[in-house]
């Protein structure tokens, strides 16, 4: 347990030392400001739903940048050999790394919560709806990060990790668009896997068990596979 925190802390510190993290922070905040202005300027409706939609799309772009190095860098620089010969379990390594990224991501989201206070000032937003929306968007990011880390554990090359993560996340995001070409069980599977079928509710502030199960089991599966993947000795 202590080691999970030690690794998470190291990851978090590493983020604040890398330029990519700052670029991600700045991009997120700028994009937000623009969208927020457009929404407020347009119809003055105190609704974060559109903001959440935009956030979701933004995450697809920033998460691979945050996760690409997680394992790829360690493998390339040989520090994986250090990590894996200390008395640390592979589970602790994976969880520590996941926790570190998740905390950084939570900080980014936390910054956007300032918009909530602006909305609060201008109108009477539905607090529960917004809270649910935040939970949804956070869970979604958490799933994206788990996917990104899993992909990073497959390669030594950060660029390959980033591009593969983009591919997977785009597929998850847009797969609902292709659903009309499928039928039967394939349609059901795609509809379930597609992010789109799950965020609709959450961004509208509705939390359903099915959606929670989707995100949490997705995260769990990715973490388990990441652990298997670092145990796999082929790449050593």
């Amino acid at each position: 347990m202590k080691k999970i925190f030690a690794i998470a802390k190291k990851e978090l510190k590493a983020y604040f030392k890398s330029p990519i993290a700052y670029i991600v922070l700045i991009v997120t905040i700028s994009v937000f400001n623009i969208f927020f202005f457009l929404i407020i300027d347009g119809d003055r409706e105190a609704d974060l739903r559109d903001v959440f939609k935009c956030m979701e799309f933004l995450f697809i772009f920033i998460v691979p940048l945050l996760t690409m190095k997680i394992f790829a860098e360690e493998k390339l620089s040989g520090t994986m050999e250090f990590l894996m010969t200390t008395p640390t379990t592979n589970t602790a390594i994976v969880l520590g790394k996941y926790l570190g990224s998740l905390v950084f991501f939570t900080i980014i989201i936390g910054i956007t919560s300032s918009y909530y206070f602006i909305i609060e000032f201008f109108g009477q937003p539905d607090r529960l709806t917004i809270l649910a929306g935040y939970l949804g968007i956070w869970l979604e990011g958490a799933l994206f990060i788990a996917i990104g880390i899993l992909i990073s554990s497959w390669t030594k090359n950060q660029i390959v990790a980033a591009i593969s993560s983009y591919t997977v996340l785009f597929l998850l995001y847009f797969s609902i668009g292709f659903i009309k070409y499928f039928s039967g069980w394939a349609e059901i599977v795609i509809r379930y896997i597609a992010i789109w079928s799950h965020t609709g509710n959450l961004t509208a502030g509705i939390i359903t068990t099915a959606d929670l199960v989707y995100y949490i089991s997705g995260i769990f599966v990715c973490i388990v596979f990441t652990r298997l993947s670092i145990e796999n000795r082929l790449w050593r």
Partner: protein, 242 residues
């Protein structure tokens, strides 16, 4: 202390280790010698449980490495071939991280870090970022990391590579000073180094242990120095092959 029983290792088609067996007792300093690609690093990776052997077993302190890797790893300090450093950390932060992962009790961490900084002459650079250090200093940080938890067994893959002559002497001194408390395995290409610090020599050729003798016996038997012996062994075999 360390027992390897007919260990073999395949990388795909390539057989990197062929039926390697040896026994190393507590307090011994053993040198691994061999040409590039002989399999020294591979043996060390198997001993540290980083790589599983294809067949055969390794026991450390009576426990089989692949089955009890966590308990075995606690006893081992390992310096890999390339020092495993996080280039964006400061030396002190890195050692702190290593101490935490290696179960150094929280109260002793600071004392222990200061001790290894002293031993590896790193006091002056402890707050520097690792990426700006020179190669020799990086190597020393790698050694510092290996001894941070006072391990019973030290496995050092080419520990003196990249160090300046004064440092080489200092590191040899450090290794020698650990004698009788620790078991040390090191690999090197500097033959005189083995002559100066090791008790025993394992010469590895193309994945096989061709010589496993105490230094005294070996020198007596061949009646010449280690360099001669090493060259004879390798050249003789090469001639046979041709």
């Amino acid at each position: 202390m360390i027992v390897a029983k007919s260990v073999t290792k395949y990388f795909g088609e390539l057989q990197a280790l062929k039926n390697v067996s040896f026994e190393i007792n507590k307090g011994e300093i053993v040198g691994f010698l061999g040409q590039n690609g002989a399999g020294k690093t591979t043996i060390m990776r198997i001993l540290t449980s980083y790589l599983p052997p294809t067949s055969g077993q390794v026991f450390i302190g009576g426990q089989e490495v692949s089955k009890n890797s966590l308990t075995v790893r606690k006893k081992i300090g390992y310096l890999p071939e390339t020092p495993p450093l996080y280039s964006d950390m400061t030396v002190r932060d890195y050692l702190k991280f290593a101490a935490r992962l290696k179960d150094v009790p929280a109260k002793q961490q600071c004392v222990q870090i200061d001790k290894v900084l002293e031993e590896c002459r790193l006091k002056g650079v402890q707050h520097k970022i690792i990426s700006i250090l020179s190669k020799g200093y990086k190597q020393r940080v790698g050694i510092a990391q290996a001894i941070i938890n006072n391990p019973e067994i030290l496995i050092l893959d080419e520990p003196t590579i990249g160090l300046d002559p004064t440092q080489i002497i200092q590191v040899r001194g450090l290794i020698k000073s650990l004698e009788y408390e620790r078991t040390v395995i090191l690999s090197t290409h500097i033959l005189s180094e083995i002559q100066q610090i090791a008790h025993r020599v394992l010469i590895i050729k193309a994945g096989e242990v061709v010589v496993d003798k105490t230094l005294k016996d070996l020198l007596k038997e061949f009646n010449s120095d280690l360099e001669d012996i090493f060259l004879k062994l390798h050249l003789a075999k090469e001639n046979q092959e041709q």
